[in-house]
């Protein structure tokens, strides 16, 4: 729990952060520190320098709605997301996910940008990002890059974030008005991370059949994924207990499901199905009633 020596400086501007990041070999950005510092304390990460983003809150913090998009600044904490009225009204699933991140201290310190950059396979936000076609907005010294979520999460702690890139915002596509969005999570009893987390959204057309549906799952495997098989199984169907169950049975099909000490691969597959069914029941609650 004693990190090795590192240099520290507080970035004065976005540009300054990018320059410092590039000019120092092994430099790392520091946001909430709740993923990076534990790794450093165990000496699993030994950056030579930390570039603290704490001074950039003016530019990189906050939530705003722009047209059909919800834009969340990288330095916005999970608590701020959870408590944001805008998020609660426009994308309740994100609010629900943020509310269930770790514990109070983690939510007060951990940031959306840090979460997306770190890309823990059991993080909650990747599921939301995939379900709502998020774009990860990245600043580099060469300019701005926009990476769609489905091209961004590549594996455990592995992303398409360019070297020396800094996530500035995450931009979610808001679903059509009237769409129910939910997040169902099974937290790990030790870490609080998702053993399985399911983000889902959907709605029915005038004929009562499912007109749009989105399901994304995190925690279950190597990387979060869109549960396309579930989506296609339910699209065009009338939401009933039976159709939901049948669709949810496909929940693990698109994932690279993995087991660990707490939950085997088999059990996780099962949980994917159970939690997907639970999420879908909530999404289509008024049709099922």
């Amino acid at each position: 729990m004693i990190p090795s020596a590192f240099a520290y400086s507080r970035a004065t501007s976005l540009q300054d952060a990018l320059i410092q990041l590039q000019s120092h070999e092994d430099a790392k950005l520091l946001a909430g520190g709740h993923s990076l510092l534990p790794l450093m304390k165990m000496r699993l990460a030994t950056p030579s320098k930390l570039v603290d983003l704490g001074g950039l809150k003016e530019e990189l913090r906050g939530v705003r709605r722009e047209g059909d998009r919800l834009i969340v600044g990288a330095l916005t904490t999970h608590s701020e997301v959870a408590h944001s009225k805008v998020v609660q009204e426009s994308l309740p699933a994100l609010s629900e996910a943020a509310r269930q991140v770790g514990d109070l201290q983690v939510r007060n310190r951990g940031t959306v940008g840090g979460n997306i950059a770190h890309a823990d396979p059991a993080s909650d936000l990747p599921a939301i990002a995939l379900a709502f076609d998020a774009e990860i907005v990245v600043a580099t010294l060469d300019g701005t890059e926009v990476i769609p979520a489905h091209e961004y999460f590549l594996g455990p702690l592995l992303t398409a974030l360019p070297e020396h890139g800094l996530v500035t915002h995450v931009s979610f596509v808001l679903p059509d008005p009237g769409t129910q969005t939910v997040y169902e999570k099974y937290p790990h009893p030790a870490s609080g991370y998702a053993v399985v987390g399911v983000a889902a959204a959907g709605g029915v057309g005038t004929d009562g059949t499912v007109s749009h549906i989105r399901v994304a799952i995190t925690g279950a495997g190597e990387v979060a994924y869109r549960a396309s098989a579930v989506e296609s199984a339910l699209a065009g169907q009338t939401p009933t207990e039976e159709t939901i169950r049948a669709a949810a049975a496909q929940a693990a099909a698109d994932g690279d499901i993995a087991g660990d000490l707490f939950a085997s691969e088999e059990y996780r597959r099962h949980l994917c199905q159970v939690y997907t069914a639970r999420a879908l029941r909530r999404v289509f609650a008024s049709q099922l009633a």
Binding site: M1, I2, S4, R43, Y267
Partner: protein
């Protein structure tokens, strides 16, 4: 005069404002001028020969003052002793060097200590100590370790058997002739205590006087002084151990550890203060673990529900070395309580202690008694199921009746007092047992699985009569000391040999004195945890602090009153037998106007201008109290759970605890003890468990994998007490620190098994993780 907050009052904890505002003074807070920092280099291998240790790079690392290896300390730091040697057990106290010399035996075994001028530099240098290992086969499993061809840990312990201990009167015939016999194997998983404060030590040596002071995280500083004096060759009068604020121990701070001894040695050699503090990752490896038994249990009885015999053959995992109190835990503290609160004529325990390549085990909250209570209470439920009787009815039938105390058990213990039926009755009433059963039946029809679990328990606490301690091989006494110093102004300082570390005795002990002297609790200061200020003491564990330490305090306070009465009588010109102490003043019996206050007397005692003949000045009472028996707390716990069949998740709906610890000194503190105990007990039932792989590497080495129970996992606990005083100590008190841990584990598991009855599930390995429950439901039987 302020209101007297004596025995029975919910006084807020005096220590809390200090502790919860960060003003406590823990070992980690000790900063001494010129202090150095130590870091222990630990083995990454579970079992290996040390071929070479190269300290050159570490020694030339910035700030490094010294590096010690096993070879360096040989002859200066003696092996770490084991201090509980159960008789007739063929115990092998194999050498436990403070730093491994030629072989490491578990992941975390110390191989070197680096001392530097700064903690970070010490840590950096520790990484530069090059140790060349030749890995050897290893095992973490005690049954495998006992078997053919298992890697041998100690040449002088063949078959890795550390000891073999037997007790009881249960013979094979008893079981052969029984109407019903139920057999089952349980595995008590290994737990990692994880007190909030980890271990730490600061040693300061004075070369000119030869005095060494050790600040340490200790539950028993006098025992540590006693043992370390031998390890270090420093006589006791030159060794001072201080442990004032200690942030929890749960048994893990009883043992004498290598690290503390090394810090003392380093301070002595370097003539500078040295600090060492464990970090959490280190704690997982280097501080004793608890439980870890394999238990084959048999219970015998009749179709009418009478239990006639119980016996267990247990294999206890002792880890790589025998820790200080470790051998007493799976033997005396476990085997002797196997028949529990029931009238069972035959009982037996047959226990192997086995060495494995794991962190040594030792006492963990409850120490042996939770293990015994678990197997008994699970077996009672399995027996009840076998004969088709309600498990509560079986308990009612077998509980020792309240008119049978003192009760001699098949194991030779004498339970001092009890009213087991009353506790059970109160718990059932609080739970509304009949309604719960009806609700359960209703919910089952809806596919919801409610379960009700019950435990009736008794525990050995108030450790204990020293004569018995000797007879069972404990290498120490178990009496307790107390000095009550009344100052001229009537304020009081108490010096106790007990060593509370979170339990609240700074308050409850003050209440005992306040009650007896009729003074405000604020006027009483409790001093503990310093061998220089307290003559002697045996510390805090085994739920002994109040029954033994509190009793010593009561006797010492009575001695104060006795002497004060003589002085008062002299002042009042009356005979001492005509004077009584009422509401804080001494008065001549029958003449309330003829009185003098406690304060007047204390002042006169010190002025000594006019003392009665034969009475010495000052006012101080001292007692060395040795109890005549253990004392036996008991009670009934009931838990209501709901199991989600779809996922195997368990939801705790209600938890009811009725405990009897004799006279309750501070109900709020007693409740707090019960709450914490329940949480730890449920931790074992549902969440916690150390897992080693087949190379004996610890897989659950951090809070990311090792699930500690959290406040939001629990419903509100419904706690209450019955009060059956202990007849043999002056306060009538028993212990309350461990009851929750002892009772909660089987209560919750019984509840879950009750919920799973429709699926034919009889038992599931703890912790009852959702996956295990889910698999058991799917398999309609045991998950493993």
């Amino acid at each position: 005069m302020a209101e007297v907050q004596g025995i029975g009052v919910r006084v807020k904890r005096k220590e809390d404002p200090r502790l919860i505002t960060g003003e406590g003074r823990y070992t980690e807070d000790i900063q001494l001028p010129g202090m150095l920092y130590a870091e222990v280099v630990r083995s990454p291998h579970a079992h290996a020969r040390i071929k070479r240790i190269d300290t050159t790079a570490a020694l030339s690392s910035p700030g490094v003052v010294a590096v010690f290896t096993g070879a360096d300390i040989e002859g200066h730091v003696a092996p770490i002793p084991t201090a509980w040697l159960p008789p007739d057990s063929d115990i092998k106290t194999t050498a436990h060097p403070a730093l491994a010399v030629d072989r490491v035996r578990y992941v975390g075994d110390g191989v070197a200590m680096v001392v530097a001028d700064d903690r970070y530099r010490a840590r950096d240098a520790a990484e530069l100590v090059k140790v060349e290992y030749e890995p050897l086969p290893a095992t973490a499993d005690q049954e495998l370790a006992m078997g053919e061809g298992a890697p041998l840990l100690h040449d002088d312990a063949p078959g890795n058997i550390a000891f073999h201990w037997r007790a009881g009167n249960a013979t094979d015939e008893v079981f052969e002739q029984a109407e019903v016999v139920v057999r089952h194997r349980f595995r008590q998983q290994r737990l990692i205590p994880n007190p909030m404060e980890m271990r730490a030590a600061v040693a300061e040596y004075n070369r000119s006087t030869g005095d060494l002071t050790l600040y340490s995280t200790s539950q028993n500083p006098h025992i540590h002084r006693f043992l370390l004096s031998g390890v270090l060759g420093i006589p006791e009068h030159k060794l001072r151990v201080i442990a004032t604020d200690v942030g929890g121990g749960f048994g893990a701070k009883i043992a004498c550890y290598p690290d503390e001894a090394l810090v003392c040695h380093a301070a002595r050699v370097l003539n500078r203060p040295v600090k060492w503090s464990e970090d959490r990752s280190e704690h997982f490896l280097a501080t004793t673990h608890g439980r870890d038994h394999i238990e084959d249990v048999e219970i015998a009885g009749k179709q009418d529900g009478t239990i006639t015999a119980i016996r267990v053959r247990a294999i206890a995992n002792m880890g790589a070395y025998l820790s200080t109190a470790a051998p007493g835990v799976p033997t005396i503290l476990f085997g002797l309580i196997v028949p529990g609160p029931y009238r069972i004529p035959y009982a037996g325990a047959d226990v192997y202690g086995v060495f494995t390549n794991t962190t040594p085990t030792d006492a963990y909250r409850g120490a042996g008694r939770p293990e015994a209570t678990y197997l008994l209470e699970r077996m009672v439920d399995l027996f009840a199921a076998e004969i088709g009787m309600d498990a509560v009815a079986v308990r009612q039938k077998n509980l020792i009746p309240s008119d049978q105390f003192p009760y001699e058990t098949a194991m030779g213990l004498s339970y001092d007092s009890g009213n087991y039926q009353l506790a059970l009755h109160n718990a059932l009433e609080t739970a509304d047992y009949e309604t719960l059963r009806a609700t359960q039946a209703e919910l089952r029809k809806e596919g919801k699985y409610l379960g009700v679990g019950v435990t009736t328990y008794v525990e050995i606490c108030g450790l204990g009569p020293s004569q018995v301690a000797g007879a069972v091989g404990f290498q120490g006494g178990l009496w307790e000391s107390s000095t009550v110093r009344v100052h001229p102004t009537g304020k009081v300082t108490v010096f106790t040999g007990a060593s509370p570390h979170g339990q609240g005795e700074e308050t409850t002990f003050a209440q005992i004195v306040a009650d007896k002297l009729h003074i405000p609790v604020e006027d009483v200061e409790i001093v503990h945890g310093d061998t220089a200020r307290i003559s002697m003491g045996w510390g805090t564990y085994g739920s002994r602090t109040t029954p033994v330490g509190g009793s010593a305090l009561a006797v010492a306070t009575d001695r104060v009153v006795e002497k004060a009465k003589k002085i008062a009588a002299h002042m009042l010109e009356a005979a001492p037998e005509d004077v009584e102490f009422v509401d804080g003043s001494f008065q001549v019996k029958g003449i309330p106007t003829k009185s003098t206050s406690f304060h007047d007397v204390t002042l006169q005692a010190y002025l000594a201008w006019n003392l009665p003949a034969g009475v010495e000045p000052a006012l101080e009472g001292q007692a060395f109290y040795d109890p005549t028996n253990f004392t036996y707390s008991f009670g009934t716990h009931i838990c209501v759970v709901e199991v989600e069949a779809e996922t195997g998740q368990i939801h705790l709906r209600r938890y009811i605890a009725v405990d009897d610890c004799g006279r309750v000194i501070n109900p709020m503190i007693a409740e707090g003890q019960v709450h914490g105990g329940i949480v730890q007990g449920i931790g074992q039932a549902l969440y916690e468990g150390a897992v080693y792989d087949d190379q004996a590497q610890l897989l659950t080495g951090s809070f990311m994998d090792y699930a500690m129970p959290r406040a939001n996992f629990f419903p509100r606990f419904e706690t209450s007490f019955t009060e059956t005083p202990s007849p043999h100590n002056p306060l009538g008190v028993k212990g309350i620190g461990e009851t929750g841990t002892i009772a909660a584990t089987p209560t919750v598991v019984n509840a879950v098994m009750d919920a799973l009855r429709p699926f034919g599930v009889k038992d599931i390995q703890m912790p009852l993780s959702p996956e295990r429950v889910w698999s058991a439901i799917r398999n309609g039987g045991s998950a493993e």
